[in-house]
């Protein structure tokens, strides 16, 4: 596994002519192997930005370059061999097993009617299952799993894609504390370039190398967490009063939030 550099240039998006712009022009460069956290209040455009990165929305202006190549100049399948995404979509119950869902990750690497590399694909699927501790569940139906287990299945599915850029949409949503920490630990250790949206600013500063806060579709910063997530910036973006406090005895910084009076 290796990681890809991501470069976003003058990117903006609106759902159609004459409709409101949901993401205003934004540009940033993310070096290979770094973890970028996208934060912002509900409706700020986090999901829109992610959809542009995983080639679901076509940009109204600008480009998304992965390792220097514009993802819209490449066939969808080529992009899928490099970029994988873990989304909030919940699969409806069509009786697929965990193993079958994870092996879907091999889709962009295979041609119709199987292809020749069955054993190789199986190895990769096995590895992804092992990496997320899903081996015992491989023959279970997805519908019988808990929320945390499902999320792990979807991550394993993305890893089976052997991406070099991994995009996650609120990966910690609906998970209990333990599973949140496990997912974040995984994000920290995967040798991939990662872009993830996160609600929890403290978790985000713990796990991300860079933070990009959004407000009303505008990018209001880009850089390491301690530079970007200042009290003023958070207060402005989320319309709450944010205070950076110091936790004892771990002596780490922690943001606390209070409704503005």
């Amino acid at each position: 596994m290796s990681s890809a550099a991501l470069s976003v240039q003058g990117l903006s998006w609106s759902p159609g002519r004459g409709r409101a712009t949901l993401l205003h022009e934004t540009s940033f460069d993310l070096a290979a192997g770094r973890v970028l956290g996208i934060v912002g209040p509900n409706g700020a455009g986090k999901t829109t930005l992610l959809r542009l990165l995983y080639r679901f929305h076509r940009p109204t202006s600008g480009q998304v370059l992965v390792d220097g190549e514009d993802i819209w100049q490449l066939p969808a399948r080529r992009v899928a061999q490099t970029v994988a995404a873990v989304l909030q979509e919940q699969p409806s119950d069509f009786a697929l097993t965990v193993g079958e869902i994870v092996s879907l990750g091999r889709t962009p690497h295979r041609t119709n009617f199987g292809g020749t590399n069955g054993a190789h694909d199986r190895d990769i699927v096995e590895r992804a299952l092992a990496q997320l501790d899903l081996h015992g569940l491989a023959h279970r139906h997805l519908g019988t799993l808990s929320g945390g287990e499902r999320q792990r299945v979807m991550v394993a599915r993305a890893l089976a894609q052997e991406p070099r850029l991994l995009i996650l949409d609120e990966p910690t949503n609906h998970l209990d504390i333990r599973h949140q920490l496990e997912i974040l630990e995984l994000i920290r250790t995967l040798p991939l370039t990662i872009v993830t949206s996160l609600h929890d600013l403290n978790l985000a500063s713990g796990v991300c190398d860079d933070i990009l806060p959004l407000k009303n579709g505008q990018t209001i910063g880009f850089g390491p967490p301690d530079q970007v997530l200042t009290e003023q910036a958070v207060t402005g973006a989320f319309q709450v009063e944010a205070r950076r406090e110091r936790l004892e005895p771990s002596s780490t910084d922690h943001l606390t939030f209070h409704l503005q009076t």
């Binding site: 995983y54 989304l87 409806s92």
Partner: protein, 350 residues
């Protein structure tokens, strides 16, 4: 789980799959021979296979049966049973494929508005235009109606920007209602005494099967079935979600439309020769998923097999329950399908 354990569980599942496929094949052959021997004039199964053998290779067996029996078996019951197989298999795989691309477990060929389009075409032929193309007028017009309905659904979905699964289904339902209203208007305007042929057609029936027509559903079923099978990975991915499927490199909107059109083609041809037969496409894939799981590489062939067997038996029931009258087969499939769904609901709750 160790590698060896994984290996052995894989072989055991493979064996189970082969066993299921084999028993399915045997069940199909047995059902076929029962379907042919049962009827107003019962014919022993031995005679059925004897006639088949003699027809395929003249002179293999000494003819111990009357010409009349041979005519009943070969000219009437064989094509009818084969049509049941083709229609059952076709409707079932269309249902399975549509359920994947709409992520709607209730999707079936009716949703496309296709069946109603077919009905419209057939009613027009039966009550208004006259049989200007000979005996093939009804199937041809039914087929045209189905294709037209599909084009309208696609047009509406473009117009309403309905690229998502839900909206495409809604477009299908809306168009279906409109076309059905038109079909009912045609019945109302038509001659009252011709209406009973229409009723028979609307409720479905395999009684019009003829050898020289079977080739059309056969070709369409094989070509479209193989195409769908070659896309089983994509169909699997579509059950997870549009966006996830897109990140796997699948052109989601285009793929869904293509599956709709292929489904329309199959349904259109089947409706043209059998009338509207409900519930097969809706019910069969559910049964198959219980047997073989959700992978479309197994769901599609399984649905074809189970659909074929199911429709053979539905036709046997339709021919025997009110003997010597033919009951419309749609009544049988509707009854069985409805009861099946009530059962399914109760089971889910438990």
């Amino acid at each position: 789980m160790s590698d060896m354990a994984a290996q052995s569980s894989r072989t055991s599942r493979l064996r189970r799959g082969k066993l299921l496929a084999l028993s399915g094949g045997v069940a199909l052959v047995i059902s076929l021979s029962i379907a042919i021997s049962v009827g107003a004039v019962p014919v022993p199964t031995g005679t059925v296979w004897g006639i088949l053998a003699n027809k395929l290779m003249p002179g293999t067996l000494e003819q111990t049966w009357s010409q009349g029996r041979e005519a009943i078996v070969w000219d009437i019951r064989f094509p009818r049973a084969l049509l049941a197989i083709l229609v059952g298999a076709g409707l079932a795989i269309v249902g399975a494929a549509l359920q994947a691309v709409t992520r709607n477990p209730l999707a079936d060929p009716h949703l496309l508005g296709i069946s109603s389009g077919g009905a419209f075409g057939a009613i027009f032929a039966l009550l208004h235009s006259g049989l200007f193309l000979g005996l093939l007028t009804v199937p041809i017009l039914a087929f045209c109606g189905s294709l037209l309905a599909t084009l309208i659904v696609l047009g509406v979905s473009r117009l309403a920007d309905a690229s998502s699964a839900d909206r495409l289904v809604l477009a299908g339902v809306a168009v279906s209602f409109i076309i059905m209203a038109g079909a009912n208007a045609l019945i109302f305007l038509g001659e009252p005494h011709a209406s009973h042929t229409v009723v028979f057609w609307m409720l479905g029936g395999l009684g019009l099967a003829q050898w020289n027509h079977l080739i059309y559903p056969l070709i369409v079923l094989i070509l479209c079935g193989l195409w769908l099978l070659s896309r089983s990975r994509q169909l699997n991915a579509m059950t997870v979600g549009d966006e996830t499927a897109a990140t796997l490199g699948i052109p989601v909107a285009r793929f869904r439309l293509t599956v709709f059109v292929v489904g329309a083609l199959i349904t259109g041809v089947m409706v043209a020769f059998s009338g509207i037969i409900g519930f097969v496409g809706l019910m069969v894939p559910h049964v198959v998923r219980m047997l073989v799981g959700g992978d479309y590489l197994r769901v599609l062939p399984g649905s074809a097999l189970v659909g074929a067997i199911f429709l053979l038996w539905a036709d046997i029931a339709a021919r025997t329950v009110m003997r010597p009258e033919d009951m419309p087969i749609g009544i049988v499939t509707g009854l069985v399908g409805g009861v099946f769904f009530v059962w399914l609901l109760g089971r889910r709750k438990a």
